[in-house]
């Protein structure tokens, strides 16, 4: 006798488990993998000379074609679309990761019904946002209201041009890469200010003005802390800074210089503040301002603002990884080794592509670790007050960043062996701290009667 309840509205996931698993696996694994493979195949060859050479290898004389510039434009447009797709997919997946982690930290489960492990919840949310009503307040400034999300989107997508995904996988290795990122990511605050003003709402305006004050103040310690690895590498180019580091932790800039270790934390804190993440999410301040500067937005427009916030975390993480944590450097494999596998042909060998893919994975893993740290911080810390935020910036971070900067000015004159010793000492110290942290966590669990590490109840 089959015992069933009278409830008949079982979810799609329960009724069609194989389809749910297939869809989830596609979005979770196949889609990012495809995006990475396309990036890997396109980005190392997006300079005009390399494009001409590769096209000639396949029998197409692109260099002397009359529509050469149009073709270059088309290829760049395709690359831009793929990178924007990557931003969007990343923003979506981060919402799922954040909601699951937040759930378990609050002793509950995050979304776990749409798709396997609730992974399709971000797809469902994206579709839902598209279907929502598009409201513009009657007294709002219509043109500015509509334009504001796109300012923020510009501030989000432009830094992706110089993000070094892999050893040769970068859209454009500008020799002022770091400066470019700091400059273009400031566009997001233009979007915030415009949206706050155009909403014709007190809460939106407060949120926007707080946001502007926050971002502008934290640019200073961020910029100075970023100068520390620039000094150590001698170049502003992102790939140059990574090439000056190595794969092992004692070869990272964060460990090679005690001031860089401190500057890493200053840079991460300032990045959190620029990205409006808790504990610095005053512009949104969900419990006070009901979403602050994007309170009056609905439907696709607010989806864009939220996407900017989440994908900004990738930029924050990627910047910190590039400058302080060794970027895509594979531990134990030097850049010369990878270059030697390239081969004489204009099309590199398969080994070279495999090494590039490994460097892509290394970069992604490190950035994801930082993103998870940001999520973890969000659900641990309460929000700071406006005056606390300002005093933290001007009284603590700015002098701290200057102190690190001046220390580094002298540190770069010291011989390289001292750098290595410092690298080993600091990475050992960091490893010890991690072990101590794990023990502390275990003690926290043991102190509660009957509690143990238990990853069940998904």
């Amino acid at each position: 006798m089959k015992i069933t309840t009278a409830l008949d509205s079982t979810s799609l996931t329960t009724r069609y488990p194989k389809t749910a698993l297939a869809t989830t696996l596609f979005f979770m694994l196949a889609l990012p993998f495809l995006l990475y493979v396309v990036l890997l195949l396109m980005l190392p060859f997006n300079q005009p000379e390399t494009l001409d050479a590769v096209a000639k290898r396949f029998g197409w004389d692109l260099g002397h074609s009359p529509f050469r510039d149009t073709w270059y434009g088309v290829i760049l447009l395709v690359e831009a679309t793929i990178v924007s797709l990557y931003t969007a997919v990343f923003a979506g997946v981060t919402t799922w990761v954040e909601r699951r982690i937040a759930g378990r930290m609050q002793s509950r489960i995050g979304p776990n019904r749409p798709g396997v492990f609730g992974f399709m919840s971000w797809v469902a949310d994206a579709v839902k946002m598209l279907f929502k009503e598009d409201l513009i307040p009657a007294e709002a400034d219509h043109l500015l209201f509509r334009a504001a999300p796109y300012f923020s989107m510009v501030g989000l997508t432009l830094p992706f041009v110089v993000l070094p995904f892999g050893e040769s996988v970068i859209v454009a290795d500008l020799n002022v890469g770091v400066f470019y990122v700091t400059a273009t990511s400031a566009f997001v605050v233009v979007g915030i200010l415009v949206s706050g003003w155009a909403s014709n709402s007190k809460w939106a305006l407060f949120g926007a003005v707080r946001g502007a004050a926050q971002v502008v103040s934290y640019e200073i310690p961020a910029g100075i802390a970023i100068m520390v690895p620039v000094l150590m590498a001698g170049t502003l180019s992102m790939q140059g800074i990574i090439r000056a580091q190595g794969g092992w932790p004692w070869q990272w800039f964060a460990c090679q210089n005690p001031a860089a270790f401190v500057a890493f934390f200053i840079a991460v804190t300032a990045s959190l503040a620029e990205g409006n993440r808790t504990p610095f999410d005053l512009p949104e301040a969900e419990s006070e301002l009901v979403a602050g500067y994007h309170a009056e937005y609905s439907g696709f427009r607010i989806a864009l603002f939220l996407m900017v916030e989440w994908a900004n975390m990738w930029i924050m993480g990627a910047l910190a990884v590039t400058l302080f944590l060794g970027g895509w450097q594979i531990p134990g494999v030097s850049v010369e080794t990878i270059n030697q596998t390239r081969g004489p042909d204009v099309l590199p060998s398969l080994t070279w592509f495999c090494w590039e893919f490994v460097s892509l994975v290394v970069f992604a893993v490190k950035t994801w670790a930082l993103v998870i740290l940001f999520i973890w911080l969000r659900w641990t810390l309460p929000r700071v007050r406006v005056d606390q935020m300002m005093s933290l910036c001007w009284k603590y971070l700015v002098p701290g960043a200057f102190a690190c900067f001046i220390f580094t000015l002298f540190w770069v004159m010291v011989p390289a062996s001292v750098h290595l010793v410092s690298g080993v000492v600091i990475s050992l110290g960091a490893a010890l701290l991690l072990v101590k942290f794990a023990l502390r966590t275990r003690k926290n669990i043991a102190q509660v009667k009957g509690a143990r590490v238990d990853l069940s109840n998904w």
């Binding site: 069933t4 009278a6 378990r104 002793s107 973890w376 590490v453």
Partner: protein
């Protein structure tokens, strides 16, 4: 002067220490089992089976031991029990019950009917889940077909009535219930009418 310096560096130490402790606490929570109970499909046992034994859920009638005394229908303060009795056409000495409806959508689960029953034919089960599209389908019909009525049970002196285990009949009944079934063709009679 040293006071301000001590405060300044003390503040920095405080921040580092509280971050350390706070992150450790949240990580320890993340590694533990959430306290959420994923009702209704991911509980270890059916929730109905986790309730106390005397839980007053839906009423179940074992027609095999119903004596047709109508005590339950008289006891009900809101008249949700509708019973119709008749003489068995084949055997005039035997009386039968042709209709035994309990309107669970109106029942207040007070238990007065259960107290009056001489054989415990009517009893509370621990079932509480029944969602149907048409509220008329929440009238549980314990004699589903008037053409096959249930005969009155004659109690045997000195013996308890052989009632089926409480809940067994209800589980079959609920299992055959269809959520989206259309409303029945007959109208539920108004309360307070003649019960005989």
């Amino acid at each position: 002067m040293p006071e301000t310096v001590r405060n300044y560096f003390g503040a920095i130490t405080d921040v580092v220490q509280t971050f350390w402790q706070g992150l450790s606490v949240t990580l320890s929570h993340m590694l533990r089992r959430p306290i959420t109970i994923q009702y209704p499909d991911r509980t270890e046992k059916r929730v109905a089976d986790m309730l106390p034994a005397r839980y007053r859920g839906f009423l179940e009638v074992d027609m095999a031991v119903c004596t047709g005394c109508l005590a339950c229908a008289r006891a009900c303060p809101i008249d949700v029990i509708k019973i119709a009795v008749d003489k068995d056409p084949a055997n005039p000495k035997q009386r039968v019950i042709t209709q035994f409806d309990i309107d669970e959508s109106k029942c207040m689960f007070c238990g007065l009917c259960v107290e009056q029953c001489p054989t415990s034919a009517i009893a509370h089960t621990r079932e509480f889940e029944s969602t149907v599209r048409a509220v008329e389908n929440l009238v549980f019909r314990w004699v589903p077909d008037a053409a096959k009525p249930a005969p009155f049970y004659r109690p045997v002196k000195g013996q308890d009535a052989p009632r089926a285990p409480v809940g067994s009949i209800m589980r079959v009944y609920l299992g055959s219930q269809v959520w989206a079934a259309p409303a029945p063709a007959w109208a539920v009679p108004a309360p307070g009418k003649d019960k005989g």
